[in-house]
């Protein structure tokens, strides 16, 4: 973990890679994301929590350039989310539990495909594919179809593919759902390594113990960010013994039950 992050707040202003200012998204009369503001620093692991329907997905979509904001400003990796979504898409990586890799392609074909999509030169892909497979211990699985890999391996591979093009920020949408405990830890170790290399990690999860791995955590309730701090400070602030308790205390306030 990069522990400069916590201490640097008072000192040198670090690079800010995500800067969100009064971001709002309305669908008709329904305000899905209600005036949220926050900054994420380079190399930070930023946990983005909230109950189902709190507005996480909508906010993530705006940040990754997939949908427009109704009002407010957002800068991701130096680009404006409202006008430069194409540039944003080139500089971020994305992985979700639902879609990560093509099941009917082989391991190397998936790497080749996604690296190609993000414009990594062919020569580099060939070289780095071997290095990546070696690092993951997947040398023997090079020609295996992704569908026959165990889930934990798949997620590790998916994450490696998502950061293959060395993005500034990687968005992870519930990356560890249903993965066995040991594989889940393996996965978080990979996240740490990416963060140590300076890749910013923006992650959502339903496992509250995973929130503890994050440098800072934001908790959304009914479209608003109700809390944002390091897990340690949040536990002190809410007088809770773990993040699960913090989450329950906050989410209980929700009035948005019906959506």
């Amino acid at each position: 973990m990069n522990n400069n992050i916590q201490t640097s707040e008072q000192g040198l202003k670090p690079d800010i890679v995500i800067s969100v200012d009064n971001l709002t998204k309305r669908f008709g009369s329904f305000t899905a994301v209600d005036n949220i503001s926050f900054d994420v620093k380079k190399g930070e692991i930023f946990g983005f929590l909230g109950a189902n329907g709190a507005g996480k997905t909508t906010a993530m979509r705006m940040l990754s350039g997939l949908s427009y904001a109704t009002s407010g400003k957002g800068i991701v990796a130096g680009f404006d989310i409202n006008t430069q979504s194409e540039q944003i898409k080139k500089t971020i990586g994305y992985m979700s539990q639902k879609f990560a890799l093509y099941d009917d392609l082989k391991v190397w074909e998936n790497i080749r495909l996604f690296a190609g999509i993000y414009g990594v030169p062919d020569k580099e892909i060939t070289l780095r594919t071997d290095a990546l497979l070696k690092q993951l211990g997947f040398e023997k699985e090079r020609d295996t179809l992704v569908q026959s890999l165990p889930l934990g391996w798949k997620q590790k591979l998916a994450f490696s593919v998502a950061i293959f093009h060395e993005p500034t920020i990687v968005f992870l949408d519930e990356p560890t759902g249903g993965v066995d405990p040991a594989a889940r830890r393996n996965f978080w170790e990979m996240i740490y390594q990416a963060s140590d290399r300076g890749i910013t990690v923006f992650v959502t999860t339903h496992y509250m113990d995973e929130a503890e791995y994050c440098n800072r955590v934001s908790i959304m309730v009914d479209g608003k960010i109700e809390a944002l701090d390091s897990p340690k400070n949040l536990k002190i602030q809410f007088n809770a013994k773990n993040m699960d308790e913090v989450f329950h205390k906050l989410a209980r306030k929700s009035t948005r039950k019906a959506d």
């Binding site: 189902n52 165990p150 066995d180 929130a211 503890e212 989450f247 329950h248 039950k257 019906a258």
Partner: protein, 318 residues
């Protein structure tokens, strides 16, 4: 093991003996014989809340489908309330409630219509067993004219539970009812299960969330188609064979790497705010480890002896 008793003997709500199941998986390159379940045996008493806990792909859904007569096992016998799943599947289908993994609801029907359809399928009516679902249904009743597809995950889950309960089943099978649902709704759901248990309904529930284990009477940990352990959550935790330490310092990522370099460390897993460590040589004291870590230039090193969680046990067993 009660395995060689007469399985039709009417003492358990669910009795599953030496069940195995294999699949032939057609991959374009080879035919794989995939083992889905291997020699699964367990019994569930009446009124028990029994949890089957393990990651995706461990075989939970296959097991549930065998128990609910949807697929046949290759080997072994299963009886539900004394009825054999192969011969007497029709009577079983009258007596059990089943909620498959994806909350099977008709998305284009309203809350009320969904409930009514499922009531009628079981030849009963909403009124007849309303007392059973009242607790849960009240929470979604304000939206009874809303289509199921427009409900939030937590509400869909509640409606699906109502639908599975409406015919007053003797045994309720819930396959991953909390997957993808946020922690608050998950907690509410488990509270509901506890209240159902009080109505003397036997409940089998599967989940990938290890933290839900402690809410069950007994649990089975499942991985790669085999049960690792069947016991009460408490016993499983108590049987954790090692002393478990939680270790933290100011540089957690480095700490993890450094801990793994120490030869006396048996295992080391990250648990967010701290790392959980077991030792090879039990004579080591907390202070001895602290001294070693300070040599690695760690500051604010904190080491505590802690009780294992189900997750620690699961990782230790695999």
């Amino acid at each position: 093991m009660q395995s060689f008793q007469n399985p039709t003997e009417n003492e358990f709500a669910v009795s599953c003996q030496s069940v195995s199941k294999h699949y032939i998986k057609n991959s374009p390159f080879e035919k794989l014989n995939v083992k889905a379940l291997e020699n699964i045996s367990f019994d569930v008493s009446r009124g028990e809340l029994f949890g089957i806990i393990g990651p995706d792909g461990a075989g939970k859904t296959t097991l549930f489908r065998i128990l609910t007569t949807l697929i046949l096992a290759d080997e072994g016998t299963v009886s539900i309330e004394g009825n054999d799943v192969v011969k007497d599947f029709k009577s079983i289908r009258n007596e059990v409630g089943y909620m498959p993994g994806r909350f099977s609801l008709y998305q284009d029907l309203t809350v009320e219509e969904n409930l009514n359809v499922f009531a009628k399928v079981f030849k009963t009516s909403i009124e007849e067993n309303y007392h059973l679902i009242e607790d849960i249904y009240k929470q979604i009743e304000p939206f009874k004219k809303r289509r199921a597809g427009k409900l939030s995950g937590g509400m869909k889950q509640k409606l699906a539970l109502c639908c599975a309960l409406i015919h007053k089943p003797k045994v309720l099978f819930l396959d991953e009812p909390t997957t993808g649902v946020d922690p608050v709704s998950r907690k509410e759901f488990w509270d509901m299960l506890k209240r159902l248990k009080a109505q003397n309904i036997t409940i089998l529930v599967s989940t990938p969330y290890m933290d839900e284990a402690s809410l069950c009477d007994r649990i089975a940990l499942i991985q790669n188609g085999s049960f690792l352990k069947i016991d009460t959550p408490k016993n499983i935790v108590n049987q954790f064979p090692h002393e478990l330490w939680s270790v933290s310092s100011d540089a957690m990522s480095k700490l993890l790497n450094d801990l793994r370099k120490i030869p006396n460390i048996r295992s080391c897993f990250s648990f967010g705010e701290s790392h959980h460590v077991t030792l090879k040589n039990k004579d080591w004291s907390v202070d001895e480890l602290k001294v070693v870590l300070e040599k690695y230039e760690h500051t604010s090193v904190e080491i505590k002896v802690i009780e294992a969680s189900i997750e620690d046990c699961f990782m230790d067993l695999t």
